[in-house]
C-alpha cells in the first residue's frame, strides 16, 4: 500500500527553476463539499508541469482558480512573488496567464486572423480595424509556431490540430507566460500530437511555463518536466518526471495498485452474433472517397473484439453504419444470420444491436432529462401498459440499471449534469444494456473518463460477455485493447490492416495502425 500522502517520501519540491506562479494553501468549497483542501502548487519558469488526477480530483477547479475563472475560498495565489487576486479571466490574461480549454473556443466562421484578435482588435488612427497589421502579426505568430497557414483561412477549414495551434497563437499574442492546457491531445492524431509537443518544447525554451492536464498518461509523461498528482482535493505526490514511471502515477492517482484486468476467460461461444461483410461507407464530405473500405468482421457471442486505430481510421463510421446511423455503400451486416439492411435504428435496437456513441454529450445523453429518463429512453416501449408508461416498472428498471452499471448518483431523479464524466458514460452504457442487447458496439467509451471508472466499465463488459454478450470495443489507447479484448482488430485508413489475439504486444498493434513507434 502507499504511504499516507503528507509523509510520503515522494513529496519533494521540484528542484531548479524560479517559481512564477504558485498556489498557497488554496481551499475551494462548493456548498458543503471541499473541492480543494489546502493545495500548494508551483509552476516554474520554462517548464512543463503536468497535473495528474482522476475526474473529480480537483484538477479543473485548481486550473479555474489559477486562470481567474473562480476565486479561492481561502488561500493565496502568488504571481512573481506577489500575492494577487484575479478579478476575471481577462485580468488573469492581462497578467500573462492563459488557459486553453478542452473544447476550443474559436469561431469557426471567422478567419485565423479574426480569431486571434477576437475581442481586442487592433485599430487604425481612424478607429477602424487595422486588418493589415493583424494579418501581419498573425502570420508572424503562426510562423513562430512553424505552422505555415494563410491567416485569412477560415477556422472551419482547419484540421483540429491546426485549430489548437490557432488557440495557442491567440494565447501567445497576449504574451502569455503561463499557458494552461486542458486535455489538448484528446482529439488529435499521433502526428498532430507530435507537432503540439514540438510547439510545447519551443515555448518552454522561450521561457513560457506550461501546465498540462491529460488523461493520456503515457503521453503526458513524455512531455512533462514535473508531475503533480491530485487526489480528492489534495496533492498526494510531486516528482520530477525523469524519476517516475506510469505505474507510479497510476498508483498515486487511484490510491492503490490498479489493474485494468484481463480479458474474461472461456466465455466465447461458437455462434456468430454479428457478421460484417465487405462493408464500405462513403465520406459525407467527399462521396467519391470511402471512409470505411470493404471491411469484414465476425463477432461471436461472448466475445470482446477491440477495434483499434488512430483518429480518422474509420472506426466511428463503421460502428455508426452497423448501428444504422449512416448508410453503407456496399456490403451487408448480418445479425444472427439475418440481414439488417433497411432496418431503422429502433428496429436494430429491438433486434438486440445497440451503439454507445463516441461523443456522449452530443450523441449519448439528453441533458434536459434526469438520470432515470436517460437510462430508460431506449427501452421505454417495453414497459407500456395500455397507452401509458408504467411508472413502477420503469422505476424498477432504472433502479436495477443504476445498480448494475454502478452509477454513483443520488437517484434516478437526479439531473444528468450532476454526474461526473465516468458516471455519465455508465448511464449511456446502462441505457443500451437495458434493452437486453446481444451485440453492443462501444465507440471510445473510455474517452475523458478516469482510470477508476474505466476499470468498472471493463469489469461490466467482461461480466456481460461471460453471459453471452458480443462486444465491439473501439479505442485509440493500445493498453486498453490488451486488457479487455479476446481479439484485436486494427483499422487503418478505412481498412482492416491487421488482426491479433490477446497475447500480442503493444508495438505490434501500433505498427499495424500506422502509428510511429520509437523502438
Amino acid at each position: 500500500m502507499t504511504a499516507s500522502p503528507s509523509t510520503s517520501p515522494d513529496v519533494a519540491t521540484p528542484g531548479g527553476g524560479d517559481v512564477v506562479l504558485s498556489a498557497r494553501g488554496v481551499v475551494k468549497t462548493y456548498g458543503g463539499t471541499q473541492a480543494l483542501k489546502g493545495v500548494d502548487f508551483d509552476i516554474s519558469r520554462g517548464t512543463v508541469t503536468t497535473l495528474f488526477g482522476e475526474n473529480g480530483a480537483g484538477k479543473s477547479t485548481l486550473m479555474k482558480i489559477l486562470s481567474g475563472v473562480e476565486r479561492p475560498t481561502s488561500g493565496q495565489i502568488v504571481l512573481d512573488g506577489q500575492p494577487v487576486e484575479f478579478a476575471s479571466t481577462v485580468d488573469a490574461r492581462d497578467r500573462g496567464i492563459s488557459i486553453i480549454h478542452q473544447e476550443l473556443s474559436l469561431a469557426p466562421n471567422l478567419s485565423i486572423r479574426d480569431n486571434i484578435f477576437m475581442g481586442r482588435e487592433l485599430r487604425t488612427p481612424l478607429g477602424t480595424v487595422d486588418f493589415a497589421e493583424e494579418a501581419r502579426q498573425a502570420h508572424q505568430l503562426l510562423a513562430d509556431l512553424e505552422e505555415d497557414i494563410d491567416p485569412l483561412t477560415p477556422v472551419a477549414e482547419l484540421r483540429l490540430g491546426q485549430q489548437q495551434i490557432v488557440e495557442i497563437a491567440r494565447s501567445l499574442s497576449v504574451n502569455a507566460r503561463i499557458l494552461i492546457m486542458d486535455e489538448p491531445t484528446s482529439a488529435l492524431s499521433a502526428s498532430e500530437v507530435e507537432v503540439l509537443f514540438k510547439v510545447i518544447h519551443d515555448l518552454t525554451a522561450r521561457g513560457v511555463s506550461i501546465v498540462y492536464i491529460s488523461h493520456h498518461l503515457e503521453e503526458a509523461l513524455q512531455i512533462t518536466d514535473h508531475a503533480v498528482v491530485l487526489r480528492d482535493g489534495s496533492i498526494t505526490a510531486t516528482a520530477l518526471a525523469v524519476d517516475i514511471d506510469l505505474e507510479w502515477v497510476v498508483r498515486r492517482m487511484v490510491g492503490a495498485n490498479f489493474d485494468l484486468g484481463q480479458p474474461p476467460e472461456g466465455s466465447t461461444r461458437d455462434n456468430v452474433a454479428l457478421s460484417v461483410r465487405g462493408v464500405s461507407v462513403a465520406d459525407v464530405r467527399n462521396p467519391e472517397r470511402s471512409v470505411v473500405d470493404d471491411v469484414s468482421l465476425d463477432v461471436r457471442a461472448g466475445e470482446i473484439v477491440c477495434l483499434y486505430g488512430l483518429m480518422g481510421a474509420g472506426r466511428t463510421e463503421l460502428l455508426e453504419a452497423i448501428a444504422g446511423r449512416v448508410p453503407f455503400t456496399a456490403g451487408s451486416v448480418l445479425l444472427h444470420g439475418s440481414d439488417i439492411a433497411g432496418l431503422t435504428i429502433a428496429q436494430r435496437i429491438g433486434q438486440g444491436l445497440g451503439l454507445v456513441p463516441e461523443d456522449r454529450q452530443r450523441d449519448g445523453l439528453v441533458q434536459t432529462m434526469t438520470v432515470g429518463s436517460n437510462m430508460s429512453l431506449a427501452s421505454i416501449t417495453s414497459f407500456v401498459k395500455g397507452l401509458l408508461v408504467s411508472g413502477n416498472r420503469e422505476q424498477e428498471l432504472v433502479d436495477a440499471s443504476i445498480k448494475a452499471v454502478h452509477v454513483k448518483t443520488a437517484g434516478g431523479g437526479a439531473a444528468i449534469g450532476s454526474l461526473s464524466g465516468g458516471n455519465q458514460q455508465k448511464v449511456v452504457i446502462g441505457k443500451i444494456l437495458a434493452t437486453s442487447p446481444e451485440v453492443i458496439l462501444l465507440d471510445e467509451p473510455s474517452r475523458g473518463i478516469d482510470v477508476g471508472a474505466k476499470g468498472e466499465v471493463f469489469r461490466l463488459l467482461a461480466e456481460r460477455a461471460q453471459a453471452g454478450l458480443a462486444v465491439v470495443y473501439s479505442t485509440s489507447e493500445v493498453g486498453e485493447c490488451l486488457s479487455i479484448a479476446h481479439r484485436i482488430v486494427v483499422m487503418r485508413r478505412g481498412r482492416i490492416s491487421a488482426e491479433f489475439t490477446a497475447d500480442t504486444t503493444k508495438e505490434a498493434i501500433m505498427a499495424a495502425s500506422g502509428e510511429a513507434v520509437a523502438v
Binding site: S186, T370, I380, G417, S418
Partner: protein, 383 residues
C-alpha cells in the same frame, strides 16, 4: 399540491410532474405568482373584476389562447416553433362558416348543409393537414421551423382571405330546417355554469398533460427536443415525433378557431392575426425553453391565464388599448428575462463533467480526421 412520495423513485418524476425539485417549483411558481399578482391588483382597481361571472368570461377568452399555446408547447418542446397557428385559427373559422352556409356541388345541382359535428371534424382535419404540411417541411425537408411555418402563416391567411374575398361570414346559427343548428353551442352554452370553451380547454390540457407525462410519445418528445441525436441513437423515431407535434398544433389551432367563431357567431378571415405571438408568449411565461426539451402544460396554462387576465383587466379598468400592448409586452420580456436567469443558473450547477471536444457539431457524422502523414508512403502490414 404535488409531492414526491418515494425519494429513491423519482426516475420519471420530471416527466410525471410530481417533482418537488426547487428549480421546478420556482419555474412554475413564477407564472403562478404573476397570475396571483394580476388578480389581486385588478381586484383592488375594479370592483367588477373579481367575481365568478367575470372570471368565467375571462376564462373563455383565455381558452382560445390556451388551446393555441398547448399546441405551441408541443412544438416548442421539440425545439421548433409554429408561427402558423393564428392563421390556422382564422382559416378554421372561415371554413366552418363556409360549410355552415352550405356547400353547393354544381355538377350534382345540390347544396349540402353538413351538420355541426361534421363541420367540427372537417375543420380539425383541415388543421391537421396544415400541421402535416408544416411537419413534413420541417422533418423531411429540413426547412427551419421558423421559416416553414412563417410561409404557412402567409399561405393559410391568404387562403382564408380568398375564400371570403376578405369578407366575414355572419350569423352562423344555422337553420333548424336544414338540421345544422348548434354551432353557437361551442361559444355560448355552459355546463354547470362553465362555458363550453373553458371545458374544451380543460379537456385538451388534461389530454396533453397525460400525453406528455405518461406516454411513450411524451418521453420521445422530451428526449428529441433535449438532444435529437441522442434520442435518435436510442431508437426514438425523431422524424415521426416531429411531424406529429405540428399536426397536433394544427388541430388545436383549428379547435380554437371553432370556439372563437362560435363565441363571435361570425367568422372573419383576419381572426387570430398575431395570436401565434400570444401563444409563444404564454409558453415562454410558462417556463418552457425555446431551445426545446423543457416545459409543461401546467406552466403553459398559467402563462395563457396571465396574458388573458392581464389584458381583460386592463380593458375593465379602462386603460387605453395602446397601453395594454405596452403592458403585455413588458410582462413577456420580464418572463423571458427570468427564464434566461433560471436556465443559466442551471447550466452552472449542472455542468457536463468531461465533454469530448467536438470540432464541427453541425456535421452529421464526425469528420474523418486526417490520417497519419508521417508514413503515408509505407504499406500496411496486411491487405
Amino acid at each position: 399540491m404535488t409531492t414526491s412520495t418515494h425519494p429513491g423513485g423519482r426516475a420519471s418524476s420530471e416527466a410525471r410532474g410530481r417533482s418537488l425539485d426547487l428549480g421546478r417549483l420556482l419555474l412554475e411558481g413564477r407564472a403562478f405568482l404573476a397570475l396571483l399578482a394580476v388578480i389581486v391588483i385588478f381586484s383592488f382597481l375594479s370592483p367588477n373584476y373579481f367575481n365568478v361571472s367575470n372570471l368565467l368570461t375571462m376564462s373563455s377568452h383565455v381558452a382560445v389562447y390556451a388551446l393555441l399555446a398547448i399546441g405551441m408547447l408541443l412544438v416548442v418542446l421539440n425545439g421548433g416553433i409554429d408561427l402558423s397557428v393564428g392563421s390556422t385559427l382564422g382559416l378554421s373559422g372561415v371554413f366552418a362558416g363556409f360549410l355552415m352556409k352550405g356547400v353547393t356541388l354544381p355538377f350534382l345541382g345540390v347544396t349540402l348543409f353538413p351538420s355541426v359535428w361534421v363541420v367540427v371534424v372537417v375543420c380539425c382535419l383541415l388543421g391537421a393537414l396544415i400541421g402535416l404540411v408544416n411537419g413534413t417541411l420541417v422533418a423531411r425537408f429540413r426547412v427551419a421551423s421558423f421559416v416553414a411555418t412563417l410561409g404557412m402563416l402567409y399561405v393559410v391567411r391568404g387562403v382564408a382571405l380568398l375564400m371570403t374575398n376578405g369578407l366575414t361570414y355572419n350569423d352562423l346559427s344555422g337553420n333548424p330546417a336544414l338540421g345544422n343548428t348548434g354551432f353557437s353551442w361551442l361559444g355560448f352554452n355552459k355546463i354547470l355554469g362553465v362555458p363550453i370553451g373553458v371545458l374544451v380547454m380543460i379537456v385538451v390540457a388534461l389530454v396533453a398533460s397525460v400525453l406528455l407525462t405518461r406516454t411513450v410519445f411524451g418521453r420521445w418528445l422530451y428526449s428529441s427536443g433535449g438532444n435529437e441525436r441522442a434520442a435518435e441513437l436510442s431508437g426514438v423515431p425523431v422524424k415521426r415525433v416531429k411531424v406529429w407535434v405540428y399536426v397536433i398544433s394544427g388541430v388545436s389551432s383549428a379547435l380554437a378557431g371553432l370556439i372563437l367563431s362560435s363565441e363571435l357567431t361570425s367568422a372573419g378571415p383576419t381572426a387570430g392575426t398575431s395570436y401565434e405571438l400570444t401563444a409563444i408568449a404564454a409558453v415562454v411565461i410558462g417556463g418552457a425553453a425555446l431551445t426545446g426539451g423543457r416545459g409543461n402544460v401546467r406552466g403553459t396554462l398559467l402563462g395563457a391565464f396571465v396574458i388573458g387576465f392581464l389584458s381583460d383587466g386592463l380593458v375593465i379598468i379602462g386603460v387605453s388599448a395602446y397601453w395594454q400592448t405596452v403592458f403585455t409586452g413588458a410582462v413577456i420580456v420580464l418572463a423571458v428575462l427570468l427564464n434566461s436567469v433560471q436556465y443559466s443558473g442551471r447550466r452552472r450547477t449542472a455542468k457536463p463533467a468531461s465533454p469530448t471536444p467536438d470540432p464541427a457539431p453541425d456535421t452529421p457524422t464526425p469528420a474523418p480526421a486526417p490520417t497519419v502523414e508521417q508514413d503515408a508512403t509505407s504499406a500496411s502490414p496486411r491487405r
